[in-house]
Symmetry: D2
Subunit: 319 residues, 4 copies
């Protein structure tokens, strides 16, 4: 849900990059990269292994996989099928297969009435829901020996329900006892170049706010009692990001003139996170309730939600 | 939700009428009628007081209030305000006021993707939701001394979620502990003349299926642990109704000719519920998954959902 | 649009069948049938070649192709791709290829707010629209030597616009000068078994009302000045159909008893269209504004609109 | 439509303010202000009377009325009714009453799939459409001696239709011959404080792009042949605005430190429009396709579209 973007970034990849930018190395964080040339998909796996790494990254211990597919917002159906296939593989790898057949609850987070936040609700709307059929008629109704039971819910956002998402989901989990929760959410990115091109999959669940420590409203194994996989796609950027990026360009341009050098130097003394923080403070308080999103976001949401739901449908098939 | 219309009728008023038609009197059922001349609203209160009455009516013990407002589907805003006011009074009367301030969960039943079934979701979408604000900032945020906490949820239908509505609502009730649940639902009527003109309010909750005995998936005080008020408005008619009504007209027309008299007599030997049952059996099995609805149902749903949500907003105000 | 279902049936196939049922042969009407075994698609081509044939069929001179695919409402994506391919072939065959590159306006008829009538709007929403890109940046923007210019419009229904659909489309055609119009519409069928399983493609355009003679509001070559291909899919059934079918069952059942024989005989003296007419007259006048539709119509519309828009996207590709 | 916000601002009021800020007076522009204390509505009337004034303001000759109602996004129904009443008065004043009865076409501009751009489509969806009823049944059907004929259309945006909005509207105007067009549109503002609180009404129509000179795609008396009243409400802010505002805050903060004075001075040498232009150039090119909007925009659009359609319904009544 997009009211989370108090957060600097929802993407572990960007958290990592901001350190690299400042030439800092982080202990307890392992990064693997891979490029699928044929499909033009860049895959980064960030493993946060220690509490120290978690603190440095501002994200809990766990695995964060990022698929970057530059053409993901293009209307090429075959390409989308390929992304769905790759995504399905990674989802399957994160699922704990100690139980052969699972009952999986897919949660579509976000507000279906606000276009860039409607990703989660749209994904659930396209899913193949099977739990009620199997419970009523048995596995044979699906023509299979082994099946996963799939259920889905779109809880709405707090302004619509008056309830915390956690309250709703915990209630539903207690009643229907799934063995796994998968939460789909729209994210905020720091960079416009990530928008609608990046998918993050993690086994750490959803951690609104700072991510570490503040588990009050998180959807995690701790709060729900079952493993939680989160799939997130950036559909908005933080307003502070935009100001920050423009500032950098402005300073570069102005330093050509003699008496501006001083300003550039002062500005450079800040590290990237201090600069970001300063801008957040100076930004108009009105902006805290605002987001920045592309104008063609309607088509993008339609296309990507289909890609994700296809990936889930594939991942849920037991051969 | 409209998958309930296996049911003969969802309206207690129609159940009562079908007895009157056959000149049968029912013990344990008290009926009061009232006509609000100024507002042209006919109000009927059916009280089922004994188990015998419940069995005869095919509905549980409790109070069923029906408002009939012939012009309710017209686009006259002032008239709608008057209906909202009358409806608010009746809702207030059904609420148990032993606790001064209540936490009320409003449940919008039905499928928001199917126009005549979207009534419940639309009503919740127009409600003034306050629980999260009061919990975060206290009553003063509402500028009042006494407040009700209002929350709302749109659970979706089983084909979308794979879960029983009861499972979802029971989970949410256990987590958020409301003192009252109000469920809003689109109903099936036996007569096209009731469509979009009738509002039923009852303190017996939602009883899918036959209503009596089959409490497995009901939303009632028994299943949820708190009082449940249900507000229902007929937006579809049962296909068997239509066949039945046409049959009556056909027979009347045909009896003019000599050799048809016999048929009319045979047909008249059945009582109204036997005729209905016969037609249900003869109707094509394909029709069991179908409903009959007016073509301008989109405007009607928009208008009536607003009338109901306004009534709720009024009823929830503490002076 | 579904306000057309004053009509006995929108399907030429059903008009033909009703004659066969009465053992009548029609001159000026040629029928070819074909069964695509692999894909389980039954294809019927009805060619009305003379005015006499047109009068008998209640439909204008032209070609009517019907694809019947019993599993079309199932959620099998690969099967839908095959239907799209077959449908694309038939659309391509109906297009007059005297001009190599065409400017094609796709019109999505119907009311997007009423689920079974939203087919046309949904199809246009999924189309690849290219006219504005090619006009601004040239063919090379599409990476092709030869391209069709695709535009699309969702005019809305008269209750929403206060205007005849013909007025809107004729205005748009005069301004943007397409060489071909393709209109997509939800139809009424006589039989529940056709619902969501049948696609009709015709080069006669859209002929609301009786189809012959009443060209006042038709979307045809006569009224628009360019060829009009219509693609229709039945999503509702006529209420009179349902009564009629049940009557037949009722009579069969009742004839077992001695004194009912007379009725059956009288009823049988009518031919099928007289019976239908009689029922239409006896049916409650309220029903004229009503339709009968399946409860899972939301999923069906989503799936089929995607199948049709994919077929159009394929058909519009120039190798 | 929000693809217009290449524009510095869509609001004449803001254009005027940007001059005041730089202490410039503009000839040929008359400003009247008024405060409705009871209703807390600030009304500004900007009349551009000469070509010189038009050039200075970057807007065509005509009258621009702005209502500023700080509480317009609050959910207070009575207050909304008051705004509707005031707005109705101003709309009535702009209508040329030389013809007593008018045929009025209301155009809902924007993309209904993108929340902040859905204002126009929502307003048309709530309007009382009467043209088809009066044409079919005469004035008496409305129970009045004198009536306006109201029609409405939602043309969609170019990415959905492949056509210019002007092409569609001109075609519809030529076919249906209204005597007046009223266009409803979501606007971009320069200041977040205007969002969802300001309504602009003008008799100059819709002038995308710079407003003056570039009449190619405008909806105006020149392009449509009938008077065009435009009603616009800011629902997004330009990304450059946000950077600009933050820069000002940043400089103020930094000038406390000695070696930054120089920067402030250099920056101050630019006038406000030069600063804005500079930032537009330095802003990431990705941002040109983006907008900034409040997170609760769904509720705001629902509420305000209702307020505007009520005002139109009132304004269209002939006593």
């Amino acid at each position: 849900m997009l009211d989370k973007f108090r957060v600097r970034t929802d993407l572990a990849l960007e958290a990592k990059e901001s350190f690299e930018q400042d030439d800092v190395e982080i202990k307890g964080v392992v990064v693997e990269e891979e490029y699928d040339e044929k499909r033009e998909i860049h895959i980064t796996k960030v493993k946060i292994e220690t509490e120290k790494g978690a603190k440095a990254m501002g994200k809990p211990i766990g695995t964060y996989i990022t698929l970057e597919a530059p053409n993901m917002s293009d209307p090429d159906e075959d390409y989308h099928k390929e992304i769905s296939t790759v995504l399905a593989d990674h989802i399957r790898n994160l699922i704990d297969h100690s139980e052969e057949e699972q009952s999986i609850l897919v949660v579509g987070l976000g507000n279906r009435e606000v276009t860039p936040d409607a990703l989660g609700p749209e994904v659930v709307g396209n899913l193949l829901i099977t739990r009620h059929v199997i419970q009523e008629y048995g596995k044979l109704a699906m023509g299979k020996d082994k099946v996963n039971l799939i259920s889905g819910i779109v809880p709405g956002v707090m302004a619509q329900t008056g309830m915390e998402t956690l309250e709703i989901i915990r209630g539903v989990v207690e009643e229907t006892k799934p063995s796994l929760v998968i939460a789909i959410d729209a994210l905020a990115a720091r960079s416009t170049k990530r928008l609608s091109r990046t998918i993050q999959i993690t086994d750490t669940g959803i951690n609104p706010g700072s991510g570490v420590g503040n588990h009050r409203h998180a959807l995690t194994r701790e709060t729900l009692g079952v493993p939680v996989i989160a799939i997130g796609i950036p559909t908005v950027v933080d307003a502070a990001t935009i100001v920050n990026d423009t500032m950098e360009n402005l300073i570069e341009a102005m330093e050509q003139s003699d008496h501006m050098k001083g300003f550039g130097n002062t500005w450079r003394e800040f590290d990237s996170s201090e600069k970001y923080q300063l801008i957040r403070e100076l930004i108009s308080p009105h902006l805290n309730g605002m987001f920045v999103t592309p104008k063609d976001i309607d088509d993008t949401i339609k296309r990507i939600s289909f890609t994700v739901s296809e990936a889930l449908n594939m991942a849920f098939q037991l051969s």
